[in-house]
Each structure stands twice: as C-alpha cells, then as structure tokens.
Symmetry: C2
Subunit: 423 residues, 2 copies
C-alpha cells in the first residue's frame, strides 16, 4: 500500500498504474479480494481497534462534540457491520464489461457501448472511518483504483483500515496501488490531489460546504458532489390526509439526520384548515420543532403560541434535526416554484389525488427524485436495487441520485469490423 | 432575444427562466420551431450574408489566415446546408421523456428513471458561425436553453444568426430566452459565464487549448470538453496487409483535418518488413509527409532519404494535416502502452487476424472508441445513428465519444406510490 512517505502525486501515479490491470481484473478475483478484506477486518480487529483508540482519545482530549466522537469510534460490532457491507458488495453484479447497447452499421461494422471503470477515483471525507472501507470496496468492485483522503481526526484508524483492505486485496491478486491513502491534513495536499489531471479521473467529496467550496475553487479534475438535501413534502388540495400525515411524519421523523429527510412542509390553502391543526399536533408530539409562516400560524389553533416564525433562512436550510418549516401555498404551481427556488434538487414529494397536480409536480420539479404519494426517504441506492452507494448526487452530469457501482463506471465504444473504411 | 446590453449574469438568468418551461415543451412545438428556424435561415439570407460580409471584410483587413476566413464565410449555399442540418435535427427522436429503466419496489412503489433536459447549456466557440445554429438546434430539440458565446471575429454573423433562430423559435411557441448570445470578446466575460453555478448547468467549449485551460482555471460550472484526437492505427503481426493499408490510408488521408483522423501508424516488427515499404510508398503518393523512427527508416528502402525523424513531440501531436508519424513496435502490448501514453483517448484502431490481440487491444486501450479491423474515421454521432453531434468527448464522466441529443440530457427518478413510507 502507498504510505505517507510518498507525495500525493506519487501515490496517484501508483494508483494510475494499478488501474490499468485492475480494469481488466475478472469478477471472481475481485470478489475473492472483497471477501478476504471482510475476513481480515474481523481477524485483525485488535490492531484496528487499537489504532482507533488513539484517534478517539485524541478526539476526547480535543473535546470534539459527542456526535463526532460517536461517528469516529469503532467497536467489534461495528467492524463486523463494515465487513458485512463488504460481503454485500462482493455479492452485487459486476458492472464492468456489461454491454449497454449494440448496433450494426450499414457497412457491417458491429459497435457495442461497453461499461468500463473510470480509472482512478479519489474520495475525500470526514471523520467516519467506515467510509475508508465502504469506498475501497465499491471502487474495487467497479474496477477503479482508489486514493483515500480522510480527516486527520481519524488518521490512525483510516491508515490501518486502508492497510488491512489493501493487503487483503493484494493477497487475493489485486495489483499493488489499487487502494492507497494520503493522510496529511492540510489544504495544499487537497489542492495537489484536485489538480492531478489525467491521473485522477474523478474526485468525490463527502463532507461539508467548506470542502466543496475548496474543490470548486481549485479542482481541475472532475468532481462529483455527494449532496445536501433540502427536501419538501407538498400536501395538495384534495389529498388523502391520512396518507399526507403518514408521509410528512415519516419524511421528517423516521431518520432526521439523513439527506433524504424532509425540511419543509408545504400545504395547499384548501387543505390547510383541516390538515394543519392535526399535522402540527402530531408532529409536535413526536418532538418536532415547528417554524411556520403567518398563514400556518393562523390555522394552528391552540398551538399558535408555541410556534416559531419561519425566516427566509429556514426555507433554505437543511436542518439534519427534528425541525420542520411549514408554509401554506395557494397552488401546486406555487409549491413547485418554492421547491425549485429553495430545494437542493435531492428528493421532493407531492401528496395528491389529482393526476393533473401529480403530472405538473413530477414534470416541474427539478430534482434527482420526485415522489407522488410516497415519502422522500426512499432515495437510496440499496432501496432502488442498485446495491450500496457512495452517496447521492444532486448534480446533473454523469450521475443524479444514488451513486452506486454503475455510476462509478464510464463506457467505451468497441467496434469490430472486417476492413471497413469511411467513404 | 437577449442582447449585449444585458450582463452575462442577466442573460444566463433569462436562459434559466426559459429553461423551466422549455423542459416541458412538447416535441411537436419543438419540431415546428426547428422547421421555422430552417425556413427563416433561407428567407432572411440577405441580412445574414450582409452581417457576415462585415465580419469577413474585417477579417481580411486583419489578415486572418485563409483557412480561418474560409470557415468564417457564409454563402447562400452554406446557409441552405445549415438549414438542412436543422431540419435533420427536427427529424431526430426527442430524447426528453424517454424512460431509461423502470422497476417496482417490494412495497409497490413504481420508480422510473426518465430522461430530462440538463437545463441551461453554454457553448463557447471559435470562428465558425454555423456552430451558432447547429448548437441552438441541438439544445432546443433536447429541451435545453442555450447561451452562445462565439468569437469576436464572427460577432456580426453570430448575432444575426442567433436572432433569426431565436425569433423563429419564439414565433413557434418557444419561450423567450431559450436562445441567447453574449458577444463581448474578453476573458472576464468568459470567467463570468464559467462561474454561473446553479444557473448554467454545463459549458461546452469548442476551441483550442487556450480556451480549455482558461476554463480549467476558472470554471465552477461543469465543463464537457469537445476533444482533440491523437489517434493511432496499429498493424499487428499476421494482419491482412491489404486491409491494413486501406485502413491506414483512410484514417490518415480521407479527411486529415478532423479529430478522428490518425496521426501515428504503429507496425508490429514481424509485419514491418513486408508492410512498411509498400505502405510508406502509397502514403507518400497521396501526399502524406512521413516522420519515422529509426527502425521504420531502416525498412523503408529507397524512400529512406526522404523521411523525417520522428521526435518525442511527434508522438504527442495531432497534426490536423497530411503528416503521419510511424513507429515499429515489438508487440501488441508495446502498441497498447504507446497508445495509452500518447493518445488523447479518442479513436484507436488495430488491424489484426488474432483474436487474442484484438481482445487485448480493445480491453487495454483507454479510449472513447476502439476499432478492430476498421478505420478510426467512423467515430461520429451521425455514423453511430445518434444524429447530429455537438462534438466528441474524450473525458470519462457523463459522455464519452459523440455528444448527441441524448448526451445533452440528464435523468430524474419519478416514483409513484399510494402512501408508501419507509419502515
């Protein structure tokens, strides 16, 4: 495995060399490598947990907040969970070599569009050490070499995890350099990584806005941004209000920390009088803090005094918490405009009985996933049958929505002939 | 149509507004707009040719070289050709609304992956005014608003062409702002265009390395680079030498100025003795200047004295001219390594009778299109049945190879349920 004694450019060059043979590695060998990786994560648990303890102790000394420390901490049980995820990736179909389409030209030339790996993928991420293994496994299965750059907070954990993963893979026949890590924490290093044109094919940042902006500034390598989610549920006039309530609660409460949770509830004025008092009460009972516009407050009955005013900032915020903004709108069109103005293009839902509203919403809302009469919480590679995902994309180029194995590939046209030349 | 009195940001904002309704415009209206555009290009020929004359006269005064002047010049015949291309785009299938795949989750949620427009596409290009119309037509058909930025050399031509196209489209029911142009020539304007995050969805540069590097430096909007092509023909040991000769000649001579023409001929040492004297002579007879390595020279017989030495630079050069570099290699692997080291990932061909070599070459060469026993000249959207193309991509994200209508779209997941929530 590449070590920190090498420069970023050297590590990336090693990954590039590895990527050539990795792209042609058969599925059987890749799966054997993944299963060996899973086994070694369990077998070598003591040294992994020891390295992790160094990170968590340093984190405690640095008084990291408890959520961060929790994400940083590994246990035997969590390691078994990570190993199980790796085995699940081994069980997924290999996208490499699939023919997407094929056609024969009039002159007899047979052309196929065939899936091939991207080459070298760099993943830049924050404190969670499981990302080291998840992303390594997804890249290996899709035939890509990976260059990992984790947070310095998790440097010991990430280094040993990458080492275990790499050694297991190499032992099973994967080329050296297929899994590498750079562990220095400074922004110069990130910049060096982000400008490896022609060596690194793609950078995927999994982190906050600061990281994204740094990459937008400096990256000359293509970047695929794993997304923030400012998602909405819109309850239309005439919607089934039981469905609407169940969907609003599920979208907000079931797992508020994730990107496909809802942040704003939009309610059609014709449904608001009946729906809002009940919905606000039920949401409050589940511990949801409510931030509302004036019309919502006016319809909220005895709850009115306990509600906060929604500000412009609330419409634009992904809370990652049990907070919900609520607004009354006069039409499906107004809901669509609000979603397109403030949403992040992730997951958006309408609850409606009207085919016209459903069609307007699915056509008019500019987002990766648009739901009719269902919760926003379904946006997920595993749920969509794509297997594990490296994140969700809200950008429009290459991959939109879940980024799974297939989204980590590109294609080439392979044309086979018998001497054809162009007239 | 947007005029130069507006700032780049204002023009882009107008395009964004137009893109919302344009995305939902029915195919019939889009086709009617394209046919009206074609008609008006012919009907309004006098004012177009008058504007073009201003550009060509200024170009002559500025002593632009003759090739550039020729690309700049419009005639009635060329306008008819452009109009005919627009009618051909109208006749292509509309990619918008196509379902790429669909599946039903276990809970009954029906999910479809549906093609939708990207939104706003900016095209930055050099002197050829036909690009103004071609790209406008491709973007309109694929439901995208376009912001054009041509060269100042062709400012009058481009402005009137965009105006004719926009007016014809608006007259047929396309929203104002769907086709806009910014005509100032400076790099600040390019920078402003390239940083319209969230407003412009994609920039496609059609120009030289200077333009590409400027965009790599400044762009925060995704960029899809229309490609350079440093393409190779490799003649394997045991190849049919008649086929090899026909393919080498076709790939170099048939149209040397285009990106899928060959720049280097690689010949297996076992074939070189028989193949090279004949091939070099035939290529010379067709006016090809030859730049060769030492082993090629040694096998070139009476031609030896008239051949230039190939330098390191020759292996890396796209000549765009009747010049061919020639090198002898000892194996298919050496040919693959040479192609991957110097090629631009565009179009690569092997001529061989060996299934093993064919398989090694198609798997090992990292390029958009890899040919077995056929000329590199087939890489073309129209030839591949994709209709007109906006260029060829040698990048790996989103689109590789011809960029046609489908490559100007993204997708969204549309999920229809009956109250599903996540457990």
């Amino acid at each position: 495995m590449a070590t920190t004694a090498q420069s970023v450019a050297e590590v990336c060059a090693g990954a590039r060399r590895a990527s050539r043979s990795l792209a042609q590695l058969d599925t059987t060998t890749k799966n054997a490598a993944l299963n060996a990786m899973a086994e070694d994560l369990e077998r070598r648990a003591p040294e992994i947990l020891q390295a992790n303890a160094r990170d968590t102790e340093a984190g405690e000394e640095a008084e990291l907040h408890s959520g961060l420390l929790d994400r940083l901490r590994l246990t035997e049980e969590r390691l078994a969970g990570i190993a199980s995820d790796v085995r699940a990736i081994a069980a997924l179909p290999d996208p490499v070599g699939q023919t997407i389409e094929g056609f024969r030209l009039a002159n007899g030339l047979d052309v196929r569009r065939v899936r091939v790996p991207l080459g070298v993928v760099a993943v830049v991420y924050e404190a969670r050490p499981n990302v080291t293994v998840d992303c390594s496994a997804l890249c290996l299965k899709s035939g890509n070499a990976i260059v990992l750059r984790g947070s310095s907070t998790a440097a010991h954990s990430n280094t040993v995890l990458a080492q275990v993963a790499s050694e297991a893979a190499v032992g099973a026949g994967v080329p050296e350099g297929a899994i590498s890590i750079v562990t220095g924490g400074d922004r110069d290093e990130l910049r060096e990584l982000a400008t490896q044109d022609g060596v690194v094919d793609l950078i995927i940042p999994r982190g906050g806005e600061g990281l994204k902006n740094a990459l937008k500034q400096h990256a000359t390598v293509p970047v695929m941004y794993a997304a923030a989610g400012n998602c909405h549920v819109f309850v239309d006039a005439g919607a089934d209000l039981d469905d609407a309530l169940a969907i609003a609660i599920n979208a907000k409460v079931q797992r508020p920390s994730v990107c496909n949770a809802a942040e704003t509830l939009l309610v059609h004025a014709d449904a608001a009088g009946e729906f809002l008092p009940r919905a606000l009460r039920e949401l409050r009972e589940r511990g949801v803090e409510l931030r509302v516009d004036g019309r919502t407050r006016a319809m909220s009955g005895e709850l009115a005094d306990s509600l906060a005013d929604a500000t412009e900032e609330d419409w634009a915020t992904e809370y990652h918490a049990l907070i919900l903004a609520v607004k009354v709108v006069d039409s499906a069109d107004e809901a669509i405009d609000h979603v397109n103005q403030y949403g992040s293009g992730h997951s958006e839902a309408i609850v409606t009985g009207s085919t016209e509203s459903a069609r307007a919403f699915t056509a008019g809302v500019d987002a990766a996933c648009v739901y009719v009469n269902a919760s926003t919480r379904f946006t997920d590679g595993a749920v969509f049958g794509m297997g594990a995902e490296i994140g969700n994309s809200t950008q429009k180029l290459h991959a939109r929505g879940p980024i799974g194995l297939r989204e980590l590939t590109t294609y080439k046209f392979v044309a086979e002939g018998s001497g054809q030349v162009r007239e």
